[in-house]
């Protein structure tokens, strides 16, 4: 087998191997690229409510169940915290309830992981660390090999001398152009 056949085989098999990871990185890449416009990991539902006003100051923990009762919360609270004399934050099973004591206004936050996007972003942003760092490095190496082997898959009609050359140069020029403008 000559080197062209080896090159083709490497490009083909690496391509198959990288399909899953490429889809993960591509989809998650779009998701986290627009993090300023949406939260790609969590759906946060915010609901406002009203309870009877309460006096400011350091609260007695006894009143927390009473506040929860007014809000129709049947579960007990995990913890509570007062950032200042006017506000009380109550934590109930993946939810956060912010109570403004003097006005009685309540902001209720329920957090839910996005079932599709959270795991994708978890892998893309390398939250697992450990062995996944190596997987990501091997994937990056495989992409490098795909690029090189792809460039070497020359045919006379569509090779580097004609269309291939133009497209390869365009792909290199695009990041260079942005570097010239923004860097």
């Amino acid at each position: 087998m000559n080197w062209r056949k080896w090159n083709y085989a490497i490009h083909r098999d690496l391509g198959f191997l990288c399909i899953g990871l490429t889809l993960i990185y591509a989809l998650s890449g779009i998701a986290v690229n627009h993090i300023a416009d949406w939260n790609p990991n969590y759906v946060i539902e915010r609901v406002e409510a009203q309870i009877d006003p309460l006096p400011s100051g350091v609260i007695n923990p006894i009143i927390i169940p009473q506040i929860l009762q007014q809000l129709g919360e049947l579960n007990g609270h995990e913890n509570a915290f007062q950032p200042d004399p006017d506000n009380l934050w109550i934590y109930v099973e993946k939810r956060m309830i912010r109570v403004h004591l003097p006005s009685g206004s309540v902001k209720h936050e329920r957090v839910k992981r996005r079932p599709f996007w959270y795991p994708l972003n978890f892998l893309h942003l390398n939250h697992p660390k450990k062995a996944w760092t190596w997987v990501a490095d091997v994937y990056a190496g495989a992409l490098f090999l795909l690029a090189i082997s792809g460039m070497l898959m020359i045919s006379k009609k569509t090779g580097l001398k004609t269309r291939g050359l133009v497209l390869t140069l365009a792909g290199i020029a695009l990041p260079l152009l942005f570097l010239m403008v923004y860097y």
Binding site: Q82, D84, V111
Partner: protein
């Protein structure tokens, strides 16, 4: 064969259950043997600048989008400190809010101008989807925060 399979399943189940009960470690984990009460640090914060400390408290808030900061409560009413980590190096899950945790890091001091405080508060309000009135900020601030290196949070 069946006994071996059942044994393997039992082992897997017990590992999974015990990992749920244990505190989850983040970043470098914990290296100090003792926590310092936050009230002690905040009583004389300049004495702790650039020093490594461990704080024990409730995780009261977490960065919604990147998990790159959290607030941990202190041992006295209204006491809290912000813990900032390098983006991506440690990512705190939003579910950590309300959990008991220990955070370790180095105390840092920042002297913020009024404009910087406005920018910070506007950023926080934007993240929470709330309105922000810059007129509520009257002056600049001296802020102490923890440059987070590691943490352990229970119940995650």
């Amino acid at each position: 064969m069946n006994k071996a399979l059942i044994f393997l399943l039992m082992m897997t189940l017990s590992i999974l259950l015990s990992s749920q009960a244990l505190a989850k470690s983040f970043g470098a984990g914990l290296s100090l043997k003792q926590s310092t009460p936050l009230s002690t640090i905040l009583a004389n914060p300049d004495a702790y600048v650039d020093k490594k400390v461990q704080i024990d408290g409730i995780i009261i808030d977490v960065c919604e989008r990147r998990g790159c900061w959290l607030y941990i409560s202190g041992d006295k009413p209204f006491g809290k400190i912000r813990v900032k980590v390098i983006d991506g190096k440690i990512v705190f899950p939003l579910e950590a809010r309300g959990k008991q945790g220990k955070v370790e890091g180095v105390i840092e001091k920042f002297v913020l101008s009024k404009q910087q405080v406005i920018q910070r508060e506007k950023h926080y309000a934007d993240e929470r989807g709330e309105k922000f009135d810059p007129a509520t900020v009257k002056s600049g601030e001296t802020v102490y925060q923890l440059r987070g290196l590691g943490a352990e949070i229970a119940g995650l």
